[in-house]
């Protein structure tokens, strides 16, 4: 029987992986419907109906159609509170506030420079786009400053929002994974004691290992 929960987008997309990792942590069955972005699947009228900005992922279940990976993750946690990792989004308002704070820090401070670096260092070469050394340097400096704050925090706290693994840590997995595994700048994370320790812990979770396997099975379009 097909599950009503569907995620649309290529498994190599960082934002798609964010949602897949969350669904796996929450033990929610889903179907991944891949898109060929090189062929412009994400700009076709049928897809724009469910994601008007033409970005991935999009998500559907029997009640709702949603986009924006971090919104989808929050919805999944709220809609399936009793499934899988029950503490993924906190079990009380103060815990949830701390998770939201670090989810926002990821979105506003970690994501922009790390995405730019992943694009410049891992994707541009594959797409035959010339790398911009100025952009690389600028974003390395930005990311280093952000990770200095993380280094201090993770010296005081096992995970970003507290003692338990949460959605806030999960949200960092896709970009961090590419930085460490698909570029030569991974030491920006691994050379910092506390960030390195944290990265080792979160990337070894079963859910993330499953995502990495899924990516490896992706055939190039």
């Amino acid at each position: 029987m097909a599950t009503p929960v569907k995620v649309y987008g290529p498994p190599l997309s960082t934002a798609v992986c964010r949602v897949v990792a969350c669904l796996l942590e929450k033990d929610v069955e889903f179907q991944l419907i891949s898109l060929n972005m090189a062929k412009g699947d994400h700009k076709k009228p049928d897809f724009l109906k469910i994601q008007p900005f033409g970005q991935v992922p999009a998500f559907q279940d029997e009640k709702i159609s949603l986009f924006e990976s971090r919104a989808i993750c929050r919805y999944v946690c709220e809609n399936y509170p009793e499934k899988g990792n029950k503490g993924l989004f906190g079990t009380n308002p103060l815990a949830k506030a701390s998770i939201d704070q670090w989810l926002e820090a990821e979105g506003q401070s970690f994501n922009p420079p790390s995405s730019a670096l992943v694009f410049q260092l891992a994707l541009a070469p594959r797409m035959n786009i010339k790398q911009d050394e100025g952009v690389i340097k600028q974003n390395e400096e930005k990311l280093a400053k952000v990770l200095d704050v993380y280094e201090k925090r993770l010296g005081e706290s096992r995970f970003l929002a507290g003692d338990e693994f949460s959605l806030a840590d999960l949200s960092h997995l896709p970009n961090a994974h590419y930085l460490v595994n698909a570029t030569d700048r991974g030491e920006i994370l691994t050379s910092r004691d506390n960030v390195g320790r944290w990265w080792g812990e979160i990337s070894n979770r079963d859910s993330w290992k499953k995502v990495v396997d899924m990516q490896k099975q992706q055939h190039s379009p």
Partner: protein
């Protein structure tokens, strides 16, 4: 114990302040002068280690990131003031979260670039990057085109109710139509224009503009 909001002169703290007013939550403000670099003082960095605005203090509890702060208070005081800022059901909340993320990741980056270049650099006689302004305006225009389509079918972004998603747009859009002198970006789009008139005329936003 009253909630303290740091940095009321600036846009992101206003996102928090307008939410507190909508929810009828008492608060006080603490000025932070970015020109003097007060956000880089050790005492401030103890509260907000990234040196950004705002941060709130609520007794012993400290929280930063304006969009995290508004989610916390909208949920904590669900039954007080404007009650459906997060929607009335799990599905409505999902839509509020979706459009809040759209604001954070699609709307905010280009409008923030424009704010920095036009208001912080150019108005201070510092060289602004005209190409960056042009590119950002084009990006923002494309986002507003999607909003135009959405708002032609829905009174507010998440549905037929004013929510945190609409609220989150107030501070920087106010800069756009005011000191940035780009009101045409809103007025050229019929439904975006009507939506802007509606949300910016809420008593809570008028109060923010009056006080800060």
């Amino acid at each position: 114990m009253v909630v303290k909001v740091y940095g009321p002169a600036y846009a992101s703290p206003k996102r928090v302040i307008v939410c507190l007013i909508e929810k009828q939550i008492e608060f006080e403000t603490v000025p932070v002068d970015l020109v003097k670099g007060e956000n880089k003082n050790p005492e401030y960095l103890k509260l907000q280690p990234f040196g950004s605005l705002p941060v709130i203090q609520d007794g012993d509890f400290t929280l930063y990131e304006s969009r995290a702060i508004i989610r916390y208070y909208a949920e904590k005081y669900k039954s007080q003031g404007t009650t459906d800022l997060l929607g009335r059901t799990i599905e409505e909340r999902g839509l509020v979260e979706q459009w809040l993320e759209v604001e954070a990741h699609n709307f905010h980056p280009p409008i923030y670039q424009m704010t920095t270049q036009i208001l912080f650099f150019a108005k201070r006689g510092l060289p602004a990057d005209e190409n960056l302004i042009k590119e950002s305006e084009e990006k923002l225009g494309k986002v507003l085109d999607v909003y135009e389509e959405r708002l032609s079918k829905s009174k507010y972004l998440a549905g037929d109710f004013f929510s945190l998603a609409d609220l989150s747009h107030l501070p920087f859009t106010q800069y756009l139509v005011g000191p940035m002198e780009k009101e045409y970006m809103i007025r050229d789009r019929k439904h975006v224009s009507a939506w802007w008139d509606d949300i910016s005329n809420r008593p809570s936003w008028k109060k923010v503009l009056e006080l800060y």
